[in-house]
């Protein structure tokens, strides 16, 4: 059997199990299918199953995925900023090494109240990833053992990866070209 059909079956299995357990709280954003057109401009493309999870159940969903569906490995966790709808997001990649299956989970929170539960009790590796998301975006994780800035200085005044924060170093004065500078 070619690999992609196995993957599509796995995707469907994951969706079914999650729907059975969590119902409306988990929605399918994107499901790769074997007969989808390859590249069409202005079409949202994805490469793996994308699920959007409501914030209250995200910890339970991850626990369920780890324990019941064999997603043993958390590949990455990172923040997102959606300036058009004033929200912060969380993007998690999970990997089931035994099945060779990857999925992506997304969850959103309003920028005023960007609080998620911590996942350090499920995977120790999320410790620094959550600190990084806090440092860059200001996402906070309740129950995190040591939630403080990790890459920037502790007294850094802003959350630098939010879109409104300027990239350039403000102290630099030698780059004042009218056409190509700032």
């Amino acid at each position: 059997m070619p690999a992609f059909t196995i993957k599509a079956d796995r995707d469907q299995l994951t969706i079914d199990k999650l729907a059975e357990r969590f119902g409306e709280h988990v929605a399918v954003d994107y499901k790769p299918s074997t007969d989808a057109p390859k590249v069409v401009e202005e079409v949202v493309l994805g490469d793996m199953l994308i699920l959007s999870v409501k914030r209250p159940v995200i910890h339970d969903v991850l626990k369920f995925l780890r324990d019941e569906l064999d997603f043993n490995f958390l590949t990455s966790l990172g923040g997102m900023h959606y300036p058009d709808r004033d929200a912060l997001g969380l993007v998690i990649h999970l990997h089931s090494m035994r099945n060779g299956h990857r999925i992506r989970l997304k969850s959103e929170a309003p920028i005023k109240d960007p609080v998620f539960p911590t996942f350090t009790d499920l995977w120790a590796t999320t410790n620094w990833m959550e600190r990084e998301a806090f440092d860059f975006f200001g996402l906070t994780f309740t129950g995190h053992p040591n939630l403080k800035r990790i890459l920037n200085m502790e007294d850094f005044p802003a959350f630098p990866l939010r879109k409104e924060y300027p990239l350039e170093d403000p102290t630099r004065e030698d780059k004042e070209d009218t056409f190509f500078g700032r």
Binding site: L45, D47, T75, H93, G100, W123, A124, E132
Partner: protein, 412 residues
């Protein structure tokens, strides 16, 4: 030195300290310490010379890659990936190119894929060489370092022939390479493949069965596989714990499925296992390069070095001066105005120290909306306090150098 408890009276006559009243020291190791090979700070709490706990501070060379990437056109991000893991920058370059190719649906000719495989395996050898020779230096064997670095220079010579740079290579373009490999380059690769195994054998003879080296490294910094998985270990560090996860096998990219190679694994995840896994991987890399050279000889395609994507690959300069279309493409590419579909992809490659992932979100604009790097060093370095707990200070140094933590990748 900080006294946590007042010294009790019996200390005056009792030379054997009572374990109930431990006299703990605090030692600040780093951020610039000659033994740590980079900018890492660890505040250690020591009982004599045994480490009780460690607190890490990182971010001393935080350069804001992810923020800069949001303000650069796609082809300019290659230069950022160079500076992440600078010991094996071609792997990072190729990983980024493949991510964009995955987003845009570009398919490469077999020849280009195999050329990429050659370059990536050379980079893996270069990275593992640094790590293993530095393990040697930290155990007091400087000879291996000075000897094997000549071979690293040979790899640099090959890079120079391909792209002109030694360290931060900026090699290749989205859609292929910037130019074909020259004849000198092929000759150098063949010469390297021929000469390197003998040099590596000499290096092995210095260390692998050396009694001092074995005593020093076996059981130093051992880590069980389940903890390693929980901490998100990948690459040689995970394989040394006995888990045979390799992205080249699990999710083949760039034609790795055509090659026949072994994934070496260790047992206990100690320093010696990590050393041996890297050592074996270098041998497998040489075998992969040999296979790639054979496959390239058998291919009927001897010329192509890019995919057929004029919107990503710069046209030859003489065409830019003489043809309308070439001029337009040139302008569009250089200004970063190539159309990119909306979408998001995650692509991972087997970097020299683990799964190097690129999570790219494109909103159809000229720059990525978000680019998140899964940096293996950042993820596995957080297990360091757990790994060194209860070991001696000198073993902690050795454990760090055998984990191959690269500061540029750690701090992004």
């Amino acid at each position: 030195m900080k006294n946590t408890a007042a010294k009790p009276d019996y200390w005056k006559h009792d030379l054997v300290p009572n374990t109930e009243h431990k006299d703990l020291n605090t030692l600040n190791l780093g951020p610039t310490h000659p033994a740590t090979h980079g900018i890492f700070q660890n505040v250690l709490t020591l009982d004599g010379e045994v480490i009780q706990s460690a607190e890490q501070t990182i971010g001393y060379i935080h350069r804001a890659f992810e923020k800069i990437a949001e303000r650069r056109p796609f082809y300019q991000i290659t230069t950022l990936t160079d500076r992440m893991n600078y010991c094996s920058s071609p792997i990072n370059n190729m990983g980024w190119h493949m991510t964009v190719e995955k987003l845009c649906g570009i398919e490469l000719p077999k020849r280009v894929e195999y050329m990429r495989v050659i370059v990536m395996e050379l980079a893996r050898i270069a990275d593992h060489l640094i790590c293993n020779s530095v393990i040697g230096v930290d155990t007091g064997a400087l000879t291996g370092f000075t000897y094997i670095f000549q071979q690293r220079e040979k790899i640099y010579d090959i890079y120079e022939e391909i792209c002109g740079a030694r360290l931060t290579t900026n090699m290749g373009r989205i859609g292929g390479f910037e130019r074909n490999f020259s004849d000198t380059c092929w000759a150098r690769i063949r010469e390297f493949v021929k000469n390197y195994p003998a040099a590596l054998k000499e290096f092995d003879n210095l260390l692998v069965r050396n009694r001092i080296f074995m005593d020093r490294t076996i059981n130093c910094g051992a880590f069980p596989a389940d903890r390693a998985l929980a901490y998100g270990f990948t690459g040689p560090n995970l394989r040394a714990c006995g888990v045979d996860y390799d992205v080249r096998v699990a999710d083949p990219y760039s034609g790795y499925q055509d090659f026949d190679f072994m994934v070496p694994i260790g047992q206990s995840g100690d320093t010696y296992d990590r050393f041996m896994v890297r050592d074996q991987e270098m041998k497998e890399s040489i075998s992969i390069i040999k296979q790639a050279l054979d496959k390239l000889d058998k291919l009927s395609d001897k010329k192509s070095y890019t995919a057929d994507v004029p919107e990503w690959v710069l046209p030859p300069k003489e065409n830019v001066y003489n043809q309308m279309e070439a001029l337009i493409w040139h302008f569009k590419i250089v200004m970063g105005e190539t159309n990119v579909p909306m979408g998001e992809v995650y692509h991972c490659v087997e970097g020299a120290n683990g799964e190097l992932g690129f999570y790219l979100v494109s909103d159809g604009g000229r720059t990525p909306a978000r680019l998140h790097f899964r940096r293996p060093c950042f993820i596995y370095y957080q297990a360091y306090p757990e790994m060194i707990k209860g070991t001696m200070l000198s073993d902690a140094i050795l454990t760090m150098s055998s984990m191959n933590v690269i500061a540029g990748e750690l701090d992004a």
